[in-house]
Amino acid sequence: MNRKEFIETLTKKLRENNISDIDEIIAEYEEHFNFKLTDGYSEEEIAAGLGNPEEIAMQYTSGNIDNKTIGKKAIITTGLVFADIFAGAFFALFFAWVIVMVTFTIASATVGVCYLGRFNIYSLIPPIPYYWCRIVYVVMLLSLAVLSGVGTIYCAAYYRQLMRAYGRFHYNCIASASGKAVFPPLNIRPQFSAKTYRLFRKIVLIALAVFAVSFVLSYILSAIATGSLEFWHVWKWFIE
């Protein structure tokens, strides 16, 4: 008897005996075949070692999981549907937030580059007439873009991990309700390597320091250049 014959006979006999979760039982024997084949046994030898599939199928009748699990499964599935609706809304919102962060990062970087290269398409960007002021604004905007960029990566990673963890939770709920083996739950926080984590920390700290200094400096320089504490009026920002 080869592997295929063994599995087929076993499946057929299990069905005849009304055993539940046949897939799970078969999976154990498939795994057994795989292990033994790696050890160099032939399919026939393995099947002979396992014994008569008809007798094996008989032995499962005593350990059958009864139909009580079906009612339990229905309740859990209903609960899961509601949980999925809320989780779906939450994930949609979270996704929108990630998009906002991506947009903010791109916007800061673009405006920074425009100031640096003196591009002002359709005069959309408020003017900064003084060179040094402009450079400080560029530094400020680019450091902001870096900060926001790292934030975006972290949020996106968090989003992905949270989705995976929820998917795992979903699977485990159904599996445990049907008496099947479950996976260990996943951590809901993104799992970066210590090296990546340290790199992120370093980038964020440097970008934050640069941003804080250039933010203060930009105000001071602008105020000095225009001779006004409300320099944006002098440069006619925010008016048509």
Binding site: I25, A27, E28, Y29, E31, H32, F35, I46, G49, L50, G51, P53, E55, I56, Q59, Y60, S62, G63, N64, I65, G179, K180, A181, V182, F183, P184
Partner: protein, 106 residues
Amino acid sequence: MNVQYKKGVIELCVLSMLYRKDSYGYDISEYISKRINISDGTIYPILRKLKSEGLVTTYLSEESGGPPRKYYRITELGRRQYLADKAEWLNFIGEVNNLLKEDGDE
């Protein structure tokens, strides 16, 4: 030896193995069949019976470069059952040994 009789003893052996550490089906099957002369296929129905009785539970563990493997873990109920059965078994074979020795002395 009678198959039904062996099955009870093998349940005890499986519990003994799981009492020490979590294992997957093939591991248990190999461990037992190396020591006791039974066909390899006998262990899996026993594992399922132990599970349906609540003496063991299963969980999946992701192995690198392969499908997830199903591990068996003994429950608190299983531990108590094992210790009780083990004591009973040791007592039983002790009595049987005594009995057989009396026979040999004659």
